[in-house]
C-alpha cells in the first residue's frame, strides 16, 4: 500500500506541471500560434521563481513564499513569451524558428545570470524545500483517499486542478474563449466579424507563457533542492501531452496523468520492488517517457484535431 501511495504522489509531481504547461499550449494553439518554446518558458519561469525563493528564504517562509514565487514565475514567463508573440504575430515569422531561438536563449540566459550573480560563478541555484504539506487538515485523515491525494502534497497540485477548471470555463463558457478558438480555426472569418485577431493571438501566447512559467516552477520544487537551469525536456513532453489530449482540456488531464505515470516509472524504479531488482540501467528508464510519447503520437495523430490555422501567420491581405 505504501508503494501505491508513493507512486500516486510521485505521479502527481510529474503530472501537474505537464498539465499546467500543456493547458498553456492549448491556449496558444487554439489561438492559432504554435509555441515550441514552452520548454524555454518553463526554464525562465522556474529560474525567476527559484531565484526569488533563494533570495527571500530568510525573510518569508512557507506557503506565502511559494505563492509569491509562483506569481513571479508566471509574470516572467509572460514577459518572455512577448518575444514569441511579437515574432509570430507582428513579424509574421516562422513560429518554429522563433520558438527554437527562445528555447536556446532561455537556458543560456539563466545559466549566464546565475553564474554572474552568484558567488564563485556557481551555476546551480540552491533552495530549501519548506513547502511540503505532510497532511492536509481533515482531508488527509480520510482513509485511502487521504493517503493518495492529501498527504505529502503541495499546494501546486491543487493549483493545477484549479487552472484546469478555469481553463475549461474560459475556453468554452466565455466570449473570450469563443473568439480565441475562432482565431485558431478561421482567422479571416473572425476578423470579418470584428474580432481583433492580433490581440487574440497575443492573449493566447501570453497565457501560455504565464502557465509555462508556473509549470516550470511547479516541476522543479517537489523533485529537487537545486535548480540547474533545465527542466529535462518537459516543455516538449507537454507539447506531446497537448497533442495526445487533442487540444481539449479534459483529455489533456488524462494525457498528463499517463505521461506522469511513465515518468514516475522512469525515476522511481529504484523504490518499486519488481523494477529495482531487474538489471535495467537508469539511462533506459529515462528513455521511457520519450519512447511512450512517440508510440502514443503514432497512433493518435492520424485523426488529429489540430486547430486549422495553427502555425500560419495571419495576414489581413491574404485570402
Amino acid at each position: 500500500m505504501n508503494i501505491l501511495y508513493l507512486v500516486v504522489q510521485q505521479t502527481m509531481f510529474f503530472s501537474i506541471p505537464l498539465l499546467i504547461v500543456a493547458l498553456g499550449g492549448v491556449f496558444t494553439e487554439r489561438g492559432g500560434v504554435t509555441n515550441i518554446a514552452l520548454d524555454g518558458m518553463m526554464i525562465i519561469g522556474a529560474f525567476a521563481g527559484i531565484f526569488f525563493i533563494n533570495q527571500m528564504e530568510g525573510q518569508i517562509t512557507g506557503q506565502l513564499l511559494l505563492i509569491m514565487a509562483i506569481l513571479i514565475a508566471a509574470a516572467t514567463g509572460m514577459v518572455f513569451s512577448l518575444f514569441h508573440a511579437y515574432a509570430s504575430v507582428n513579424m509574421k515569422s516562422d513560429q518554429i524558428i522563433s520558438g527554437t531561438a527562445l528555447n536556446m536563449f532561455a537556458p543560456a540566459f539563466a545559466i549566464f545570470v546565475a553564474r554572474m550573480v552568484q558567488p564563485n560563478g556557481v551555476q546551480q541555484i540552491q533552495f530549501a524545500n519548506t513547502f511540503r504539506i505532510p497532511s492536509v487538515p481533515v482531508l488527509g485523515d480520510i482513509p485511502i483517499i487521504g493517503g493518495l491525494f492529501f498527504q505529502n502534497a503541495y499546494i501546486t497540485t491543487y493549483l493545477g486542478f484549479i487552472i484546469l477548471i478555469i481553463s475549461v470555463i474560459v475556453l468554452y463558457k466565455t466570449k473570450f474563449g469563443l473568439r480565441l478558438r475562432a482565431c485558431g480555426e478561421h482567422p479571416h472569418a473572425a476578423d470579418s466579424v470584428g474580432i481583433n485577431v492580433y490581440k487574440m493571438r497575443y492573449a493566447g501566447v501570453l497565457i501560455s507563457g504565464a502557465l509555462a512559467g508556473i509549470g516550470g516552477l511547479v516541476f522543479v520544487i517537489p523533485t529537487s533542492t537545486n535548480f540547474n537551469e533545465t527542466v529535462s525536456g518537459y516543455g516538449f513532453l507537454a507539447l506531446a501531452v497537448m497533442i495526445f489530449g487533442q487540444w481539449k482540456p479534459l483529455r489533456v488531464l488524462f494525457a498528463a496523468f499517463f505521461f506522469g505515470l511513465m515518468k514516475t516509472v522512469a525515476s522511481a524504479y529504484s523504490v518499486i520492488p519488481i523494477l529495482a531488482t531487474a538489471p535495467i540501467p537508469s539511462d533506459i528508464y529515462k528513455m521511457v517517457p520519450f519512447i511512450a510519447t512517440l508510440i502514443v503520437l503514432a497512433f493518435s495523430s492520424k485523426a488529429s484535431q489540430a486547430p486549422r490555422a495553427v502555425a500560419i501567420p495571419y495576414d489581413k491581405g491574404s485570402r
Partner: protein, 372 residues
C-alpha cells in the same frame, strides 16, 4: 552602375544582407549583455568574441575549422530538410548516435587496416544517423506525426541511448569519457598539420583539425549538385513548395519525405563521425544528460546560410569562430553562455528575414529619393 544596382536589388544580395543584419543585431545584443553584467570588462570581452579563434594564432584558426566541420554537416542536414519542407530539429540525436557508431567501430574493429578503418567508421556513422531519422520520416509520411515533435523525442532517446551504450562498451572510467579510438580510425591530417600549429620552443603544438574539413566541404558541394542539378533534388524541392501539386505531377510525396529525412539524418550522423574520429586531443562523448550543441547549432547555420550548401560552409565557420572565442571569455570571469545567447538572438532575428527582405530594397529606393 547598372550592374551594381542590379546586384544590390538582386535576390542573392538581398537574402544575404538579411543574414548579416541578424548577425549584427545578435552581436549588439551580446555586447549589451556584457555591458550590463560587467561594464569595465565589457569592451575587452567583446573584443575577445570578435577575435574568435584568431587570438591563439594558427592553432586557434585550426580549432575553428575543427569545430566548424560538424557544424557544416548538421547545417547541411537542417538546410536540406528545409529545402524539402521539413524542419529537422533532430540533428542532436542523429549526431550523437552517428558519433557513437563511429567511436564503437573506431575502438573495437581494430582488425581493419588504416584507410579502411576510418572509412568504415564514417560510413557507419552516416548509416546510424540515417536510421535515427528514418523513424520520424516514416511517422511523418504514414502516421501524420509532426516531424518537430518526433525528432525532439528522438533527440532525448538518442542522448540517453548513446550515453548508455558508451558506458557499456567504450567507456574510459578514469576520465569519465568515451575511449580514444584506435590510431587507424583517426582521420588523417591531410597536410593540415603543416599549417595549423603553434611553435612551443622545439615542440609543435598541433591543432586538432584534420581532413574532416575537406570531407565536409566535398559533401557540401555534392549536396549543392544534388539539390540544384538532379531530378531527384528537383522533386524534393517541389514537395517542399507544395505537396499537393507535386503529388498531382506524379511525384511520390511520401517516399520523398522519408528519403529526405534519412538523407538529413545521414548528414548529421556523419558530422558526429567527423568530429569524434580525431585522436586523443579531439572530442569524446561526455556521457552527461545534455543534448549535443553541435546538432542544435545546425539550425542557425542553416538559417544564416539560407539553406544553400555553399552559404552553410561560411555560416558554420562563423558560428564555430565565435564559439571558440567565447571559450576564452572565462579569463575575464564572463560565463561563455553569452555566445549561446548571441546565437539565439541571431536565430530569432533570422526568423524576421522575410520582413527584412522587404525592408531593405524599400530603404534603398527611398534613399535615392525615387528619381526614376
Amino acid at each position: 552602375m547598372k550592374t551594381l544596382k542590379k546586384f544590390i536589388l538582386g535576390e542573392g544580395f538581398n537574402k544575404a544582407s538579411a543574414s548579416i543584419f541578424a548577425v549584427v543585431i545578435g552581436l549588439i545584443f551580446g555586447f549589451i549583455i556584457l555591458m550590463v553584467s560587467n561594464r569595465t570588462e565589457a569592451v575587452e570581452g567583446f573584443r575577445i568574441i570578435l577575435n574568435g579563434g584568431f587570438s591563439t594564432g594558427a592553432k586557434g584558426t585550426g580549432q575553428v575549422l575543427y569545430f566548424a566541420t560538424p557544424l557544416i554537416l548538421t547545417g547541411l542536414s537542417v538546410g536540406f530538410a528545409f529545402k524539402t519542407g521539413l524542419f529537422n530539429i533532430g540533428a542532436p540525436g542523429q549526431f550523437i548516435m552517428g558519433a557513437f557508431a563511429a567511436i564503437y567501430i573506431g575502438v573495437k574493429w581494430t582488425f581493419l587496416p588504416a584507410p579502411f578503418h576510418w572509412i568504415v567508421a564514417l560510413v557507419a556513422a552516416a548509416i546510424v544517423g540515417g536510421l535515427w531519422a528514418l523513424i520520424p520520416g516514416i511517422l511523418k509520411a504514414y502516421m501524420n506525426v509532426h516531424e518537430v515533435i518526433s525528432t525532439i523525442m528522438m533527440n532525448y532517446i538518442g542522448m540517453y541511448l548513446a550515453n548508455f551504450l558508451t558506458k557499456s562498451y567504450v567507456f574510459d572510467s578514469t576520465k569519465a569519457l568515451s575511449q580514444n579510438v584506435a590510431n587507424s580510425a583517426v582521420l588523417p591530417k591531410g597536410g593540415l598539420d603543416y599549417v595549423f600549429f603553434n611553435q612551443l620552443g622545439s615542440l609543435k603544438d598541433l591543432s586538432t583539425v584534420n581532413s574532416g574539413i575537406y570531407i565536409a566541404i566535398v559533401i557540401a558541394i555534392i549536396m549543392y549538385l544534388i539539390i540544384n542539378k538532379t531530378t531527384f533534388g528537383y522533386e524534393l524541392k517541389a514537395c517542399g513548395f507544395n505537396q499537393n501539386a507535386s503529388k498531382y505531377a506524379g511525384i511520390n510525396a511520401k517516399r520523398n519525405v522519408v528519403l529526405s529525412m534519412v538523407i538529413a539524418g545521414m548528414l548529421s550522423g556523419l558530422g558526429g563521425g567527423l568530429l569524434f574520429l580525431s585522436g586523443a586531443s579531439g572530442r569524446h562523448i561526455k556521457v552527461v544528460d545534455e543534448l549535443a550543441m553541435e546538432g542544435f547549432n545546425g539550425i542557425p547555420v542553416a538559417l544564416l546560410g539560407l539553406s544553400n550548401p555553399i552559404g552553410i560552409i561560411f555560416a558554420a565557420i562563423f558560428i564555430s569562430y565565435i564559439t571558440v572565442g567565447g571559450n576564452f571569455l572565462q579569463t575575464l570571469n564572463f560565463a561563455p553562455e553569452v555566445i549561446d545567447i548571441i546565437i539565439a538572438c541571431i536565430i530569432y532575428f533570422s526568423a524576421f528575414a522575410l520582413y527584412f527582405r522587404r525592408l531593405i530594397p524599400w530603404l534603398i529606393k527611398r534613399g535615392r529619393g525615387d528619381k526614376e
